[in-house]
């Protein structure tokens, strides 16, 4: 049966705009809804509808090729265009699917973590953040990227600060994120200004064409590229610019941590790919040099240092946050290789890591929900008290390490092969070493959970107390996804690898 024919033609034609407009408008309505349950249902239905739309867009992209939507009927290059192509469509689907899972999880979690009065605004800010992320990915206009970047960032600052009901350090974490994030966004917009000076256009495809005609452009274009990379580097937590990330992940409400970890940095990384390959081009000497030495350099250093830092954390959320910084290093290594295989591996790791980290933070949120656990010492005996949650956590943890038949294995092997193809054997070595470090920092959590005794509460052994169903379902969806990608069940692994290779072909094909 042809799945594509099930979608209404209107949705496929206008889907790119619909996927941004719906959450944005419903976010505004959600802000004045009187009841928390109503707000939850709105958020759930909106994210679900957007996911279906994104799925339709992906199928449409596969059968018809890239589509360009002109906002307001103004054709590019003068109007704002929305581009759905092999690079943006999978990320759209990823973000919206993760949004649905986090909203499902959020039903019990927000009750425990967010003050009753703030729950409807919480969902409103969540929907607006979601709209901003979707917009960042789908837009084909460079300045529009900045606007959506800030839409999602500003709502994220507010959402992180809402964790203050649980831990007051959320306020300072959010403040630091705000300062770093704003500096990043301002650097990005300075870069855009220079790029506009050089090309006189804001449309990405038009920029790419003009820059190619100018053969990379003058010094203005070089400065622009530098500013854009630093700005996006702050947003995607590139190694020395990652200092906002552990605090924001550790103290935000757990629903927000899951969403941030699996989407926000990924969208920024997508923009890095978009800017450095389809607007600028690695064939310009300055872009090539910067990618080879800077991106690979900070990627490698970040992988090692962040993994080491992860080992010495006592708070599980901070361990996972530093592990995220390390994983960004893998993706940057893939990008820096600038070969088809390397890019495909980096892009695949982007998708896989969202699924893996989402699963880990979901399980972590459930542990907190039942037992208030945030520190590694408290993991003792968790496999006896919360076996199903712990099993899901274990699957995702193994996937993070890169055990065969899991998603992490597929992307790490692809990345290592790509590095070896280019003759970078030292990079393969670093991948192996950091995987061993991952075994250490995840392994000590798993050891405590499986071989420790259940703790005693008020003199008697803690009883089995499983997480609620609304938490278990998203957690297991992601855990099963992770296995399915690794073992190629339902051809899921092949589809993911295929999507990554298509994205890499688009990136290296030149032009948008």
């Amino acid at each position: 049966m042809d799945v594509l024919s099930l979608f209404p033609a209107w949705l496929l034609e206008h889907g790119a705009a619909f996927a941004i407009v719906l959450p944005l408008l419903m976010g505004a309505i959600t802000a004045i809804l009187p009841s928390r349950t109503l707000a939850w249902w709105t958020a759930f239905i909106v994210t679900l509808v957007v996911t279906v739309t994104s799925f339709g867009l992906v199928l449409n992209m596969l059968s018809e090729g890239a589509t360009i939507y002109s906002m307001g009927g103004w054709d590019p290059p003068h109007g704002i265009s929305l581009v759905v192509d092999a690079l943006s469509a999978p990320v759209l689907l990823l973000i919206s699917a993760m949004a649905v899972l986090t909203v499902v999880y959020g039903m019990p979690a927000t009750v425990a973590e967010v003050e009753p009065k703030k729950r409807a605004p919480f969902y409103a800010a969540f929907l607006i953040c979601f709209a901003g992320l979707m917009g960042m990915v789908v837009t084909g206009d460079a300045f529009n990227v900045f606007v959506f970047l800030e839409v999602s960032s500003i709502s994220t600052y507010a959402l992180v600060a809402m964790g203050s009901a649980r831990d007051r350090r959320a306020l300072t974490a959010s403040y630091n994120y705000l300062i770093m994030g704003s500096i990043g966004a301002t650097f990005f917009v300075i870069g855009l200004g220079f790029l506009y000076m050089e090309t006189g256009t804001l449309n990405m495809a038009d920029m790419a064409r003009i820059l190619a005609d100018l053969d990379g452009g003058s010094r203005v274009a070089k400065v622009a590229f530098g500013f854009i990379i630093v700005g996006l580097g702050l947003k995607l937590a590139m190694f020395p610019l990652h200092t906002w990330l552990p605090g924001a992940y550790a103290y935000a409400p757990s629903m927000m941590t899951i969403f941030l970890a699996s989407t926000a940095t990924k969208a920024a990384l997508y923009l890095l790919l978009r800017f450095s390959f389809t607007i600028f081009d690695p064939s310009f000497d300055y872009v090539g040099v910067l990618m080879k030495y800077l991106l690979v350099g900070v990627g490698i250093v970040g992988m090692i240092f962040a993994s080491l830092q992860a080992i010495f954390q006592t708070d599980v959320r901070r361990t996972l946050a530093f592990s995220s910084v390390a994983q960004v290093g893998y993706m940057l290594l893939g990008v820096g290789l600038a070969t088809a295989a390397g890019l495909a591996a980096g892009y695949l790791h982007l998708l896989n890591h969202a699924i893996i980290k989402g699963g880990l933070f979901l399980a972590l949120g459930a542990f907190w929900y039942r037992f208030g656990i945030t520190r590694i010492d408290d993991f003792e005996g968790l496999s006896k008290t919360m076996p199903l949650t712990m099993a899901a956590f274990t699957v995702s943890a193994l996937s993070l390490i890169g055990v065969p038949f899991t998603a992490g294995f597929v992307s790490k092997v692809n990345l290592a092969t790509a590095a070896a193809d280019k003759g970078w054997w030292w990079a393969v070595g670093v991948i192996v070493v950091t995987s061993v470090l991952a075994i250490i920092y995840m392994g000590r959590i798993l050891l405590l959970a499986y071989f420790g005794d259940a703790p005693e509460i008020d003199g008697e052994k803690a009883k089995r107390n499983e997480a609620p169903l609304m938490m278990l379902v998203p957690m297991w969806v992601l855990a099963i996804m992770s296995i399915a990608i690794g073992s190629n069940i339902f051809n899921l692994g092949d589809n993911f690898v295929g999507a990554a290779e298509a994205a890499a072909r688009l990136l290296l094909g030149g032009g948008a």
Partner: protein, 154 residues
């Protein structure tokens, strides 16, 4: 030396930019950091506005017709029908040299973003002050350190 006088706008932008960035990193007071951030963002507004200026250009308002008649809407109408030729059409229709309005529009958006960021930042500082009783970063760190020690003690 002449490059500084001819392109003094960039000199101003760079001085403001560096001042703002320095204030953000050097001060340990949360409000002062936000002040620095605002100066930093303002320098970018200036950068954009100065690149929109065309030497000898008019403000970008259509001069020949003004009022209720449809003539003033004609470029818009043409643009709506076929955006590709609109710019060429508007340019050929009048011999007035206009400054580039696009950077102004962009920066209007950026100003709104800046206001929103500043509002959220100040709101956070108010909450931090209510929770910690101080807005000095050193004191907050000391309080959190204390809090951590007590947190692990029980």
């Amino acid at each position: 030396m002449s490059i500084i006088f001819e392109q003094y706008n960039y000199a101003i932008v760079i001085i403001l930019m560096m001042t703002g960035l320095y204030v953000v990193f050097a001060s340990r007071n949360l409000i002062k950091k936000l002040v620095g951030l605002s100066i930093f963002q303002t320098s970018v507004f200036l950068l954009y506005i100065t690149i929109g200026k065309v030497s000898g250009g008019q403000p970008p308002i259509i001069v020949e017709s003004h009022g209720a008649d449809h003539a003033s809407l004609e470029p818009v109408l043409v643009a709506a029908a076929n955006a590709k030729d609109a710019v060429a059409h508007a340019a050929s229709k009048s011999d007035v040299l206009y400054s580039n309005p696009l950077p102004h529009v962009l920066i209007l958006t950026a100003i709104v973003v800046g206001v929103a960021t500043l509002a959220i930042g100040l709101a956070l500082v108010v909450r931090i002050r209510e929770t910690y009783g101080t807005i000095e970063e050193d004191e907050i760190e000391a309080l959190d350190y204390q809090y951590n020690l007590e947190g692990t003690a029980d």
